[in-house]
């Protein structure tokens, strides 16, 4: 489980890594990602639920930072709304063995006028991989070396090329003007080469952007400006859109009707964020597969999704949402609500009278209510789950880092699921979200094979097989995939293009 995704990513569009892993490589050339011709309309005023930790993309520590930094920082490549890798600063690329060679657009400049050439990209990757305080190091760990040869960038790497390209499309590959590397206020006065530059920054309030006049691709500048405001209160954000102060915002499921009644468009997005009871297989009775399966049969996912979460969540037993390439369709009917089966499995495990354990739960209303609903359902089969609400930090520390908790009611995944990351963190020995080190030989093998596969079909087959095995072994108790809802007014164009989990807001336009 990614630490912060889970923390507040509840409200995040953000994607931790490649949403289009294996989506096929738009090899060489191609237009920069955009969905329409440049038709710079008005200023988009977007009220959001989080403020970035920093505008330095290499030091960003939260998943939603990309929403704020992508308009400022171009990357070598990007991910189109349809999931395809597309050119951005790199004009073309080709693979030679374990090296990827990028030819860059000519004449591209940073906001401070510095030329964006292969040397500048090399310096950026170097910084992202080695600078003190860089949080991008783990994202670029597949890169072995970076060189400049004849004006081209040569990146040595291990593993699949699509993993590399996806990493370069995210914040680890964001390109900062090398002259600004040591600028003390880079975290709030960024210098990139993207279509927008920051004109005002007020911490925990708003970031204001204006189009960068020297940008090479005018068609990508579809807004006259952008104002990203941090408004924590749900009603305040929606009221702001209703009164015309904002154009778009994230809303709660309960606010959907209100937004529609107010004449706003509601955009729905099924994410890879999964409500889940994480179970520590080294504690309580969870070492027994039958007990873990019993927990899965004891949960009435449909009732929770319909009654508690007002259909804002789709029942699931796997991280990849329906429609995602890694989603395993045969699991859609897995673990139906069956208390009798749960009791039978408990009896077979030598626990005919049930057992007791303590689950930590993130101490906000949504997770506590979810925990209470699950607690009630477990009680029906004789399982006494005691709830201990706790801050996300503290619970993650206790559950993941120290392995000192039986279970944790939380959320895993990212808006755009990354099957590779989920596999690594949830199912492999030593995975962050596998504190009991539950090990299934076949999953370990499949994970290794699939991570290095460059063929989409092979990846799909591998991750679907892993999902089946993980469900069979009942690593955890997934409940449902969350949906996110955004309310927009009629001036906002193509907002649905943003609902991919890849947070490049430049795909949105304004009339």
């Amino acid at each position: 489980m990614s630490r912060l995704t889970g923390r507040v990513a509840a409200a995040s569009l953000a994607v931790l890594t490649a949403c289009a892993l294996g989506a096929g490589c738009a090899r060489g050339g191609g237009e920069p990602a955009r969905s329409a011709s440049g038709d710079a309309g008005g200023v988009l005023r977007f009220a959001y639920t989080a403020f970035p930790s920093t505008l330095d993309p290499h030091k960003a520590s939260t998943a939603w930072d990309e929403l704020y930094v992508f308009p400022i920082y171009d990357r070598l490549v990007t991910v189109r709304p349809d999931g395809q890798i597309a050119a951005m600063v790199a004009e073309s690329w080709s693979r030679e063995g374990k090296k990827m060679i990028f030819a860059l657009r000519s004449g591209v400049r940073f906001h401070d006028g510095t030329a964006l050439d292969a040397e500048a990209v090399r310096a950026n990757l170097e910084r992202a991989m080695t600078a003190q305080g860089s949080t991008a190091k783990p994202l670029l760990k597949m890169i072995t070396d970076v060189e400049v040869e004849d004006g081209r960038l040569v990146v040595g790497f291990t593993g699949a090329e699509e993993v590399l390209l996806n990493a370069l499309a995210h914040r680890g590959g964001a390109l900062i003007s090398p002259k600004a590397f040591d600028k003390p206020d880079l975290d709030r006065a960024p210098v990139g080469s993207g279509p927008y530059r920051v004109t005002a920054y007020r911490r925990d309030d708003r970031v204001v952007y204006e189009p960068f006049t020297g940008y090479y691709d005018k068609a990508a500048q579809r807004m006259k400006g952008l104002e990203m405001s941090f408004v924590n209160e749900d009603d305040t954000r929606l009221n702001g859109v209703r009164s015309g102060q904002y154009d778009a915002t994230l809303i709660r499921p309960e606010q959907v009707d209100t937004a529609r009644d107010a004449g706003l468009k509601v955009n729905e997005f099924l994410t890879g964020l999964v409500y889940q009871v994480n179970i520590n297989t080294a504690r309580s009775e969870f070492g027994d597969q039958r007990v873990r399966q019993a927990l899965n049969y004891a949960v009435d996912r449909r009732t929770i999704a319909e009654k508690l979460l007002l259909n804002s969540c789709r029942p699931t037993v796997q991280p990849a949402p329906a429609g995602h390439w890694a989603h395993e369709p045969s699991l859609d009917g897995a673990y139906p609500y069956d208390p009798a089966k749960a009791k039978q499995l408990l009896a077979e495990a030598g626990l005919p009278n049930g057992f007791s354990f303590t689950a930590l739960a993130w101490n906000n209303t949504a997770f506590v209510q979810l925990g209470e609903a699950i607690q009630d359902q477990f009680k029906q089969v004789g399982i006494d789950m005691k709830l201990r609400p706790m801050s996300a930090d503290q619970s993650i520390d206790l559950y993941q880092n120290r392995g000192e908790a039986d279970a944790l009611v939380s959320q895993i995944g990212a808006a755009a699921p990354n099957p590779g990351l989920i596999t690594q963190q949830d199912y492999l020995k030593g995975g962050l979200n596998n504190p009991g080190d539950l090990t299934v030989e076949r999953i370990e093998e499949l994970a290794e094979e699939t991570a290095s596969a460059s063929d989409r079909a092979a990846q799909q087959s591998g991750y679907r097989e892993i999902a089946k095995l993980a469900a069979e072994h009942a690593y955890n108790v997934p409940i449902c995939n969350r949906k996110l809802y955004f309310a927009t007014n009629d001036k906002v164009r193509d907002f649905d293009q943003l609902l991919t989990g890849y947070d490049d807001i430049r795909v949105v336009g304004m009339s």
Binding site: R3, T62, L139, L186, D187, N239, A262
Partner: protein, 313 residues
């Protein structure tokens, strides 16, 4: 007067010291670890430990406090754990918003409490007094977040007279500034008017029942003149005291009101800061709030001396 001021300022310094120690101690009780936030979502345990060491979070509490306090007395409140911004700069951005809101709410409270308190005192136990008493009871029982949402619905959405959210600095124009503050100030000021109204009513009713007021009436002075020249000033002492005490409550109430109206003040900053455990900023917020309250109390003391020169002497 100078000796009085020096004495009060020395007292204020002690208050600031005690508050800073308490805040530092309380902040340590917040569960979680800021290093986990800062290290990022893919960080290993070693990387988290390195962040902890880099930020000095692995130092003993006493050392951390003393280092902070030594810098603070020189005006350096440190730097945010999350970015390079100095705490003083962050406070300078936020304090004007909260002060504007507090002052505007205070104005609302005075505009409500003076006429209502006076009217109620004119005939204690009368129908108007009972209506005002009931109204104040209702106002004090009304949660500010609910009132705020109601005002937004009525005056920003149904009848779009005022903006629903946000803040505009005075530099953007007085009209814009006032329009954005109107609903938050009304929300905060309404609750803040309750206690001053009651105090003024009680004090004024007492004064109006005294012999010298009866003498003034017997001399045929107009009721307005009696109020203005003889009654209000004597009844003002408890009123001014309560108004001063309200400052602290207004700062506390600003946390909720700023959240409801999306104002980028100290309240919303405090909320975000506690969540992130950005201790230097949190300390700065509390110190700034304390300074404002201490300054307000000092102003009340000075006003008290002005209103009762004989007692002060």
């Amino acid at each position: 007067m100078l000796a009085f001021l020096v004495k009060r300022l020395a007292g204020a310094a002690v208050v600031l010291f005690v508050v800073s120690v308490i805040t530092f101690g309380l902040s340590l009780l917040i569960p979680g670890d800021p290093a986990i936030h800062i290290a990022g979502e893919h960080a290993t345990r070693e990387e988290i430990a390195a962040v902890r060491a880099r930020l000095g979070l692995d130092q003993p509490v006493a050392v951390r406090y003393l280092e902070w306090a030594a810098a603070a007395v020189t005006g350096d409140l440190g730097t945010s754990l999350y970015n390079s911004q100095p705490v003083t700069e962050i406070l300078a951005e936020r304090l004007p918003v909260t002060l504007s809101l507090t002052v505007a709410a205070m104005v609302v409270a005075v505009l409500i409490s003076v006429p209502l308190g006076t009217l109620a005192a004119l005939r204690p136990g009368g129908r108007l007094d009972r209506v005002i008493s009931s109204g104040t009871a209702l106002a004090v029982a009304t949660p500010s977040f609910w009132l705020g949402l109601l005002l937004i619905l009525a005056l920003a959405i149904t009848y779009p007279v005022f903006p629903a959210t946000g803040y505009r600095p005075l530099g953007d124009g007085v009209g814009d500034f006032a329009a954005h503050l109107a609903l938050p100030a009304l929300t905060l000021g309404l609750a803040a008017a309750v206690e001053p109204t009651r105090q003024l009513r009680a004090a004024l009713a007492d004064v109006l029942d005294t012999d010298y007021i009866r003498t003034a009436r017997a001399k045929g002075l107009l009721p307005v003149t009696i109020l203005r020249k003889h009654a209000i000033r004597n009844a003002a002492v408890p009123y001014v005291t309560v108004i001063g005490l309200e400052t602290g409550q207004l700062l506390g109430g600003a946390v909720v009101v700023e959240t409801v109206f999306g104002l980028p003040g100290l309240g919303t900053l405090a909320e975000a800061t506690v969540t992130r455990q950005d201790l230097p900023v949190l300390q700065g917020i509390v110190i700034a709030g304390t300074v404002v309250v201490v300054a307000a109390n000092l102003a009340v003391d000075l006003a008290y001396r002005w209103l009762t020169p004989g007692e002060a002497a």
